[in-house]
Amino acid sequence: MTDTAEQLAPHAIERLKGLRSQGSHEGIFTSDLSVNEFVMVRKANFEPLGLVVGSCIYHMGIQYGNWNQNMEMDVLSQAMYQARELAMSRMEQEATLLQADGIVGVRLEVKRMEWDQEILEFMAIGTAIAHRSGASGFKGVGGKPFTSDLSGQDFWMLLQAGYRPMEMVMGSCVYHVAHQGLLKSLGNVGRNTEMEQFTQAMYDARELAMERMQHEAQEAQADGITGVQLHEGSHNWKPHVIEFFAVGTAVKAMENADALVDGLSPQLVIPVND
């Protein structure tokens, strides 16, 4: 049996005894990382610098779709895109001021204001980080801090896999799904049949969102996009209006990836307690 106290760093013992290094500015930051994420970010040789936030309160224009036609609601698509972009760019500005290499754990949240159906709040929040020894080669597009929605654990694994994050990329499409005509509805009575108009609308909206996300990754000169999530939502719009929102982290293989990779190969385990 060993005592923890014998193995602890002097700093930890000092704090546990109730002493503190007053006036020390080392290691003081704010972040929304979990404790495990914090450990993993540090394990990846990065240090958190601070919580960075960008927000935007936006009035969405009104647009009506043609009742019996599938079509993109371009006014709403643009609004969703522009407002998210504004929130993200403000968050990036804060990270630039902190001289960060990048931002991890970015969350993009959209909330409707209670007092007005057409006003939405967009918020981007994440933790700015920088390489502990100031190593270069981790910045994103155009020397700006990279952005990523990967957690601290995923960030460590991404680096171990020989990739670095470039930019959080997204694609949005707000789509009006056509209503079915009366004759068509009557024709379907008692039949098992595909509703092609609806299928096509869902396909097209999803495709447009993914195309746009892929285009952003291409602009960022990335090799691929990891951790893609496809969200479907309606921000209190009329029935038959849906938003497809694709988001992921564009990544690029590091030049000397093979030398950097630790060569860790996962072990197979079978937990016995769950």
Binding site: S21, A79, M157, P266
Partner: protein, 325 residues
């Protein structure tokens, strides 16, 4: 809400409480409900005095001491797996410690949160001091909403002692489990407390918000425009920045960094009337675990990637109902 509205609201609350108290007295008399025993009255007055004097009542102090001396069984929120630490790392649970503070928001909901949580944590720390602990782990935070402008802030945790260390003058407070606490300690990271950053402000646009101004100049067309409401964005950004600054300063007070696990921003609109113009209230609160570490001490733990062979059956998607179509 203006100060007069607040006072009026407060008087209404008091009148309401008085009416309920009167009803209660009538019911007690008619149903023959018993009154407090002398022991209960004694206990009540001890609590009252102890809370005012920022100390523990003698009966709590006595139970804590008995527990710390092993004369009473220890109480812990730890799972069985965490009890392993008792043997492997010399971490000994001493007792469950608690603190709470039922707080009335007289002038500020935001400041109330800050004061309420800090008071509850300090009371819990008093219990940890009484058992000679080095730390409180697995701290859980809970609120109860009151009937009016009030709320109870409650914290519970397990006081632990680390073999080989003397009792701490100021036991650290950690929201992580004992298992995580030890792992962090081995990496030179010490969770030391709970940090809070809160701020609120009112905004009264003299000429209306940017969107309202646009609607005035182009009543029909403005509804169809996409536009950022820049003044509201800036107002909200300021409130949030000030709250996060407070969070950082609260961390600095403990000479620690803050991992914020809870953040919330709310904005309310109060329509104008004859006496008051249109107003917006924005409030932001962030709560986090304060950790102390030295950046030059790099993590020491070895990591082993693993793939679980447990099967995760596909969840049925057919039950997911979309309201859109």
């Amino acid at each position: 809400m203006s100060i007069w509205d607040k006072i009026k609201h407060g008087i209404e609350e008091v009148a309401h409480d008085a009416q309920r108290a009167a009803e209660n007295i009538g019911q007690s008399a008619s149903k023959g409900i018993r009154s407090q025993t002398p022991e209960e009255m004694q206990r009540y007055s001890e609590w009252e005095l102890a809370l005012r004097q920022h100390r523990l009542p003698s009966f709590v102090q006595s139970r804590m001491f008995q527990t710390s001396q092993g004369r009473l069984p220890w109480i812990s929120t730890a799972k069985a797996s965490e009890l392993l630490l008792q043997r492997s790392h010399g971490v000994q649970p001493i007792g469950m410690v608690t603190g709470n503070c039922w707080y009335h928001f007289g002038y500020s909901w935001t400041q109330g949160h800050y004061d309420g949580w800090h008071t509850a944590v300090e009371r819990m720390r008093l219990e940890a001091l009484a058992v000679g602990a080095n730390a409180i782990v697995d701290v859980r935070m809970k609120v109860h909403h009151g009937e009016h402008e009030d709320m109870d802030y409650g914290v519970t945790g397990t006081a632990i002692r680390i073999r080989g260390l003397p009792p701490s003058a100021e036991p650290v407070v950690a929201t992580v489990s004992a298992l995580e606490f030890v792992r962090l300690l081995e990496d030179g990271v010490v969770p030391v407390g709970i940090a809070i950053g809160a701020n609120f402000d009112w905004y009264s646009p003299w000429m209306g918000t940017v969107a309202a101004q646009a609607a005035q100049s182009s009543p029909f067309a403005a509804r169809y425009w996409n536009m950022e409401i820049t003044d509201l964005s800036a107002f909200q950004e300021n409130v949030r920045r000030r709250a996060l600054y407070d969070l950082r300063e609260d961390g600095r007070r403990m000479a620690a960094a803050v991992l914020a696990h809870t953040s919330t921003t709310q904005m309310f609109h109060v329509a104008g009337d004859q006496d008051n113009p249109e107003r917006f209230l924005c409030r932001h609160i962030s709560i986090g675990t304060a950790i102390s570490y030295l950046p030059q001490n790099v993590p020491q733990h070895e990591l082993i990637p693993m793939i679980s062979l447990l099967d995760h059956p596909l969840k049925s998607a057919t039950t997911t109902r979309k309201d859109l179509i």
